[in-house]
């Protein structure tokens, strides 16, 4: 029998039954919830008189809407206050463990799951947020879902799902200095397209991925959905087990040894069959910056912006130029910025802040540039402060904030205004994404954002190594 992938193995062990529609009823091992996509789901449960099937497998936090400067209650934004209160009421009524604003465990849902050891290999996980694919870094099948599906997971701890195909993506060789996990995933999306992953789970491997730490793997898996893949994962290995050991929700002692045996068993077999295989060479990846209005519209720092007529989707490129206001054929290097944002579930972890601080240390943010560092969780903030990263950032002129999603999607007061251009370590450069319908976003690695903040324009971070 041909070898099986991690996807096949977890799918099989979590299958409850085949539904009359032909879909599979899949058990969900962990459900993470937050304030934005859940309120109507709880309302639906109340309407139907249902309770939560497995309340002990559901964990809640607040991240999307929280202010990152003044967090006193009630929030200045009455809608944000109402939505937060709705979650507080729901978790209390339905008996869900909640990491609220005052909790040391509060933070972006995709940062705290791994940090607490809730996210584990060989598990299925769901959350009402498309970046749930982040958790795939642990060898977890993690699904971003809508509110009706949140309701289903609450009511049954299962989802009605269709099985995906698996595409193996090998990133071979090694990355150059100044090239980060963010550059890897931006290049994967650029190559395969923002819709290219439709119908696939992405399995990332190869020497570059093998060598990455867990935080880097999370960055890669996080943006799987930007490539159209609902699921992205990395097979668990010694790096994974080392990260998990000793975390609050990870078993210890003999149980940890048994856990590792299980985790090793669910990795893809060496002779696993894939529906597609793609190879990339790590040494060809440059620091990468998006120029358009989706994450696939990206170029290496030494490249020039594409000519629409020569582009895969000429109309899409024209629409992007119309919004961004650049000239086709111009270099991306030297593009001016107004705002620098370091944070988000893509790049708001300790390793990201360290990489950015290394660039910022002893230097100054260019006058007139608004620069924000928003840790991904209260724990990341605490650890960063223990290392003095906050002092490096504030001395350089960055604002040091409380944990949350912040300017990644600008549901809190952190927003672009007018035509501002943002150098951002987040995941989406969609029109209006950072809070201004006319605003413009350039996605890049946290180190590239820091370098852009110092110069007031896009520069090559390799000049700072």
């Amino acid at each position: 029998m041909a070898g099986r992938t991690l996807y096949d193995k977890i799918w099989e062990s979590h299958t409850v039954c085949m539904l009359p529609t032909g879909q599979t009823q899949l058990f969900i091992g962990l459900h993470l919830i937050h304030e934005i996509t859940t309120a109507p789901a709880f309302d639906m449960l109340r309407e139907k008189g249902m309770d939560i099937a497995f309340p002990e497998r559901t964990f809640a936090t607040v991240d999307h809407i929280v202010p990152t400067d003044i967090r006193s209650r009630p929030f200045l934004d009455a809608e944000a206050e109402e939505l937060t209160q709705a979650l507080e009421k729901n978790v209390k009524q339905f008996g869900v463990e909640f990491f609220g604003l005052e909790s040391a465990n509060q933070g972006i849902v995709h940062v705290i799951g791994p940090q607490l050891g809730l996210t584990q290999p060989g598990m299925t996980l769901a959350c009402g947020d498309s970046h749930t694919s982040t958790h795939g870094a642990f060898g977890t099948l993690a699904f971003g879902i809508g509110t009706s599906q949140v309701r289903d997971v609450l009511a049954t701890q299962t989802l009605a799902m269709d099985k995906l195909k698996v595409r193996r993506i090998n990133v071979n060789g090694a990355l150059g200095i100044g090239v980060y996990a963010k550059d890897v995933i931006l290049n994967i999306i650029r190559r395969l397209g923002v819709g290219g992953g439709k119908g696939f789970a992405y399995e990332y491997g190869g020497a570059v991925i093998d060598k990455m730490n867990m935080e880097e793997r999370m960055t890669v898996c996080n943006m799987s959905i930007e490539g159209g893949a609902l699921v992205g994962y990395v097979n668990p290995d010694a790096t994974t087990f080392e990260y998990l050991k000793g975390r609050p929700h990870v078993p210890s002692g003999a149980a940890f040894v048994r856990a590792v045996v299980y985790w090793e068993s669910i990795a893809s077999d060496p002779d696993a069959q894939y529906d597609d295989i793609v190879n990339l060479d790590g040494k060809e990846i440059e620091p990468t910056v998006t120029w358009g209005i989706n994450p696939g519209q990206a170029v290496g720092i030494s490249e020039k912006l594409p000519i629409p007529e020569e582009y895969a989707d000429p109309d899409g490129a024209k629409k992007a130029y119309e919004h961004m206001g650049w000239q086709p054929g111009a270099p991306i290097l030297g593009t001016p910025i107004n705002v620098a944002f370091i944070g988000s579930c893509t790049n708001g972890r300790l390793a990201d802040l360290r990489a950015a601080a290394k660039i910022a240390k002893g230097r100054k943010v260019k006058a007139g540039i608004r620069a924000l560092v928003v840790p991904g969780s209260a724990e990341v903030k605490k650890l960063a402060e223990q290392e003095g990263l906050d002092e490096i950032f504030t001395a350089a002129g960055f604002q040091w904030r409380e944990a949350g999603c912040s300017m990644c999607l600008a549901m809190n007061p952190d927003k672009l205004s007018g035509r501002e251009i943002s150098a951002s370590s987040s995941n989406r450069n969609f029109i209006g994404r950072q809070g201004s319908p006319q605003g413009r976003t350039l996605l890049m690695s946290p180190a590239m954002v820091a370098a852009a903040a110092l110069n007031g324009k896009v520069v090559d971070v390799r000049d700072y190594q």
Partner: protein, 204 residues
């Protein structure tokens, strides 16, 4: 699931919204996700493309009086990419869109639509262009999207559509609202859970 409507056909006039990779932030800006219910989402689809900062109308198909009352939406590739926000299909549905026809759809968006009883069906680029042109030339053109027969008919034309068989089955059998279907198997769910080693903390 006898209390849920079977979605066999959606018929009516149509509105075209052109462009590939139209993301859910464009369909509904994040600030509207602060509302506690979906009740008012029908006021917001494509809000920032339809209104400027002062609330003045911008040129957009949804602002064009000739497409008023359309119940079918024509789109291009990878429609609904990005955020998983169900607010996006909720906004379109509550605005009056009851079926979406395009070249392809993002996975989470298509799943969300199906769970609301809104079919997302695919046709080729040439076919969607043909239908977009037909509706642009005569906005009163009546379309019938038949989920059971997998066709779209308008005038003398008949086009074969595609959608995942599982979605088709859920729609035409009236089991697209899956909670009751899933909840019926709770005993089996508990059995599956009990066989997963992490569910008891890897206790020997």
């Amino acid at each position: 699931m006898s209390d849920i409507a079977k979605i066999i056909q959606v018929s009516g006039t149509a509105v075209p919204i052109r462009g590939n990779d139209i993301d859910t932030d464009r369909i509904i800006p994040a600030r509207y996700l602060k509302e506690v219910t979906f009740a008012r989402m029908g006021e917001y689809p494509f809000f920032d493309e339809r209104f400027d900062a002062s609330g003045k109308l911008k040129p957009h198909p949804l602002n064009d009086p000739q497409y008023k009352g359309a119940s079918i939406l024509f789109v291009n590739k990878n429609f609904g990419c990005g955020s998983s926000r169900e607010h996006a299909p909720q906004a379109l549905y509550r605005y009056g869109i009851h079926a979406i026809v395009g070249e392809s759809f993002a996975a989470i968006f298509a799943g969300n639509c199906t769970m609301m009883g809104v079919p997302t069906v695919t046709v080729s680029h040439e076919q969607v262009e043909l239908m977009m042109k037909a509706v642009e030339q005569n906005p009163r053109t009546q379309f019938i999207v038949d989920i059971e027969k997998k066709t779209i008919t308008f005038g003398e034309q008949r086009i074969v559509i595609d959608l995942p068989e599982t979605y088709r089955s859920a729609l035409i059998s009236g089991s697209w609202d899956s909670t009751a279907l899933l909840r019926a198997n709770l005993a089996q769910v508990k059995k599956t859970a009990s066989q997963l080693p992490y569910m008891n903390g890897f206790a020997g």
